[in-house]
Amino acid sequence: MAIDWQTFWLTLQLAVIVSAALLVLGLPIAYWIAFSHRRWKFLVEAIVALPIVLPPTVLGFYVLVALGPHSPLGRWWISLTGHTLAFTFTGLVLGSILYSLPFAVQPFAASFAGVDPKLIAASATLGASPLRTFFRVIAPLSLPGLVTGMALSFAHTMGEFGVVLMVGGNIPGVTRTVSIDIYDRVQASDYAGANQTALLLLALCFVLLAFVYGVNRKVWTVGPVK
């Protein structure tokens, strides 16, 4: 009946870790997509976008099989740690990164591509290395896109259901997230508990997203002047 705070804490942790990981992973991928001139670039773009199309349960099933001992990846992990990645928090993180990848990479890449190429060229002629140019010119100018990508992947992970259902195994404190908790409550006719939990999730995510977009707006108006 009462709200299960453990699941909230767990889901929040998952969302924070996943969006942080996507920042690290997404930046180079987005950079490559925005600036590469390879002819087969569109293939990579398509692959990155695939998780949007695949039903989460299907994606979850593939992840489950990939983590299991019948796949090379699963075998490698088991030989390393002695257990499979499924039904663990790490497994959820992995599945969620895959699932939310396009929600980080696409806004990143779009904002990188929107940076005035003259500024990038100017930075290069002034002797800055590509890495320096990225951190001093490209990244600051694409801050709104970066914030949007982070916020989207965070929100997407908070509400994630299918992948968690398929690979989580519903273990309290390990893989039972808020969305699974709400589903269980509805199935068990605990509508009041489901409503309360859903409302809290909604309120929490609204506040967080409103905060992020609010800050984002300010940064955007100040940014270019600096």
């Binding site: 489950l64 983590l67 019948h70 499924a86 398929m166 195994g169 519903n170 199935q187």
Partner: protein, 262 residues
């Protein structure tokens, strides 16, 4: 850009065509929608095929956890007949007026088995004790909150006094089929599934099973009801009658259900 228009035309045509055929079938009453517990997935497909050959009525099947399906029915899901994995959900539906009181029928008694992958080194002759083997890191079962097989599994583990020892290693599938999937994919080393699942075509050979003795858990009497809001009540009743026939019963037995004593 002309081709965009053509594609849209084609899609619209395809969709509307599809819609009209569905309607035609609807009008003839040649189609019923059956909601059924996950443990019936192989058995009912067989039953539905035979039923269609015999009567010309096509039965569309929708599988899920009994609790989940009950929720859907209460909220207006367009099913005609419901096969639960227990008696409580159908009884509840009768009580709230969503199912026809006179139609409640115990069609089978399900059997719970402990199931391990074929290549597992575990010795099933030991029965329930294999769960204590250190190589068993995860034990899959259906969620006892809304799946009867999950409740049976909990009862069985408690019966053998193992529940507290293995509780931390349990992983819950949304229904009994998903529990089997956890084992089949190798992520769980053992799992509680329906006998129907362990001997289903395509699954057989992928694992070995140990039948949990019937005295270890409350009987999994499974009931079916015709739903009050059924669009095709007559055909739905026929389908249920077919399940009661000798032929229907034989199919159920073939797929690992006992018919039980009533």
């Amino acid at each position: 850009m002309k081709w965009v228009g053509w594609i849209i035309c084609a899609i619209v045509a395809a969709v509307s065509c599809n819609g009209s055929t569905a309607q035609a079938q609807d009008n003839n009453g040649q189609e019923i929608v059956v909601a059924a517990a996950a443990d019936l997935s192989s058995a009912l497909k067989d039953v539905a095929d035979r039923f269609e050959k015999k009567t010309g009525v096509k039965a569309k099947l929708s599988f899920g956890a009994s609790g989940a399906l009950t929720q859907q029915i209460e909220n207006g899901a367009p099913f005609d007949v419901f096969f639960s994995a227990d008696m409580d959900y159908p009884r509840h539906l009768v009580d709230v007026g969503d199912a026809e009181a006179g139609s409640l029928y115990q069609y089978a008694v399900g059997k719970l088995v402990l199931w391990i992958p074929a290549d597992s080194p575990l010795k099933l002759e030991q029965g329930m004790k294999v769960l204590l083997d250190p190589s068993v890191k995860k034990i899959a079962m259906a969620n006892p909150q809304h799946a009867p097989y999950g409740r049976a599994a909990v009862a069985a583990m408690k019966h053998y006094g193992l529940y507290d020892q293995v509780a931390s290693r349990l992983v819950l599938g949304e229904n009994v089929s998903q529990a089997a999937q956890f084992v089949e994919s190798g992520n769980a080393q053992a799992g509680f599934v329906a006998l129907a699942h362990a001997i289903a075509p395509g699954i057989e050979g992928k694992g070995r099973y140990w039948e949990v003795p019937a005295d270890a858990y409350p009987p999994l009497a499974q009931g079916a009801v015709v739903l009050s809001k059924a669009a095709h009540k007559k055909e739905a009743t026929e389908f249920l009658e077919y399940m009661k026939s000798k032929e229907g019963k034989a199919v159920l037995e073939k797929y690992g259900f006992s018919l039980g004593s009533r």
